[in-house]
Amino acid sequence: MNAVSVVDFIGLIASILALVFLIKDRYKKMEKDTTITLTILLALIVFYTSINVLDWTGITDFIDIYEDYVRILEPIMWMFFLYAFLMNYQISKTRETERSLRINREELKKSEQRYRSYMENAPVGIFIIDSNLHYLDVNSVACQMTGYSREELLQMTIQDLLSLEITDDPFAQLYQERQTGNSPSVSSAQKEMPIFKKDGSEFYALLRTVKLSRDTYMAFCLDITKRKQMEKELKLTNENLTIEKKLAEAANQAKSEFLANMSHELRTPLNGILGFTNLLKDTELSSEQQSYVEDVLFSSHNLLNIIEDILDFSKIEAGALVIEHTQTNIQTLVENAYRMMRQKAENKGLKIDLFVDDSIPTCVMSDPYHLSQVLVNLLSNAVKFTEKGSISIHCQQIHSTSKDMTLKFAVSDTGIGIKDDMQTKIFEYFTQADSSITRKYGGTGLGLTIVDKILKMMQSQIIVDSELNKGSTFSFELVVQRCEKVNP
C-alpha cells in the first residue's frame, strides 16, 4: 500500500458518502432523471476509485483490460447530468411561467371584476379617457346622465359632450399637451360646466378629472343642475333682499330725518306757547280763565314731552345719539331725578321713597344726561301708571373692583302692572300694554323704547318684574369706572 492508494481510499470514502447523500434525498430536490444521471455518475466514480484502491492488491487485474475504455464513460455522464439538468430546468421554468401566468390571469380577472363593480356601483358618472380624448370606458350612471348607450359613448370624444362655449373645460390642459406633444402632467382638476345630452338638452355637471397613468384619465361627473338652479335663485333673492334693504334703510333714514326736523320745528313754537301761557297765568284772570290757562299749560307740557320723546327716538334711529362718559355723582343724579318727580307723585297722593347705597363713590365715570333721562323716564311711568300706593327708587352697589363697580338701579311701583305676554312688547316702538291704557293715560309708547335703546348703548339691559294690578319693578345693572373726584 502506497501514498497513492491512501489518497484513493479517501476519495472512495468521499464518493460513497456523496452517493449516500444523493440516495437519501430520494428525488425530492431534483427532477428524477437529473438525479438518476447524477447517481450513475457518482456510481462510476465510486467504481473507478474502488479499482484505484484495489489496484495494489492485484485483485482487479482482470478489469484493467476494460478499465481504460470504461473510464471514457465518466465525462459522458458529466455531460448527461448537465444536459438532464438543463432540460429539466427549462421544463420547470416553463411550468413556473405557466403557473405564474395562470395566477396572473386569475388576479386580472378578479381585478377586472372589482373594477367593474366599483364602476357600476359608483353613485357618480365615471368616464375613462385616453390622451386622444376618446372614451375608453364609462359606467351606467354616465350613460343615464348623458342619454347615450355605452357603445355610443365609446365611439365619441369628450368634446362631443361639452358645450362649445366652454373654453376652460377640465381637459383643456390635456388638449394643449396633446397638441404640443408634451406628456400630460395634470394630476387632478375640478370644474363645473354644462354638458350636452343626447336629446340636445344640457345639464350642469361638476367634473373632477384624475390622472390614472401617462395617457389615461378618469373623470367623475356629478349632476349639479338642481344645486345650480338653487344657487341662481338664492343669488337673485339675495340681490332683491339687498335692494329692498337699501330702500328700507333709505326710507327709515328719511323718516328719522323728517321726525327730527318736524320735532324741532314743533318744539320752537310750543316753547313760545308755554312761555306766554305762563306769563298769561300771572295776569289777573277770572277763575274760569285761570282754569283754561292751566289746561293749556298741562296740554302744552304733555305735547312737549311727546315731542321730546320723538326727537330722542329719531336721534337713536339716525345713530346720532352718543354716550359720553364724564365724571358723575350718582347719588346727586338719583336724588335730582327723585326731586323732579316727587311733586308729581305727591300731587297724586303717592308716597315716593329713595334708597341710595352710601358705599357708592361720589365720583364715577358715566353719562349723567342719559342715565338721568332713563331714571326720569322710569319714574315718570311709575307715577303715571300708579293710582294709589307708593313708588320707590333704589340704587345700590352690587360688585366692585379697584377699577370699576356694578350698580343696580330699580324703580318699583304699586301701579297697574303689566301682563306677562306684554312684558317684552312694551319695549317695541309706539307700543303700550293695550289701547285702553293709551286712551286713559296718554303717551306715545316711546318712553320704554328709548330707555331700552339707551341702556343697550350703555352696555346694560332693562329687566321687568311685574304682576297685573299689583305693581312693577324696572331694574338694570350698570358697570361704571371709578374716578378721582367730581367736578363741581
Binding site: 489518497v7 476519495g11 458518502l17 456523496a18 447523500f21 471514457i72 465518466e74
Partner: protein
C-alpha cells in the same frame, strides 16, 4: 519512454467538450445549487484527466500522484456539493 493511452486522449477530448458545453450554457447552469462548487469539482477532475495524459511524458510517478489527488479532491468536492444541495438545502428545482 512515452506511454499514451488512446482512451485517455478520448476522455480528455470529451472532458473539454463538457467544459465547452458548460461554458455555452453557463447562464442556465449557474442556476444549479452551489454551481461554483460543482464547477470547481469538474475542473479538478478535468485537471486529473489532463495529468493522466501528461504523466506519460514527464515525471510519471509524481504526476500520477497528483492525478489521483485530483480524483480524490473531486470526490470530496462532489460529496460536499451533494451534502449542501440535497441534505442542507430545502429546495433545488
Amino acid at each position: 519512454m512515452i506511454v499514451i493511452q488512446e482512451s485517455e486522449i478520448i476522455k480528455l477530448i470529451f472532458g473539454m467538450g463538457v467544459l465547452i458545453y458548460f461554458f455555452l450554457n453557463r447562464k442556465r447552469l449557474f442556476e444549479l445549487p452551489y454551481a461554483k462548487l460543482f464547477l470547481t469539482a469538474y475542473l479538478v477532475v478535468l485537471l486529473g484527466w489532463i495529468l493522466t495524459v501528461v504523466e506519460g511524458f514527464v515525471y510519471g510517478d509524481i504526476i500520477n500522484f497528483f492525478e489521483h489527488l485530483c480524483y480524490t479532491v473531486n470526490s470530496i468536492l462532489l460529496c460536499l456539493w451533494c451534502y449542501l444541495a440535497f441534505i442542507k438545502r430545502d429546495d433545488v428545482q
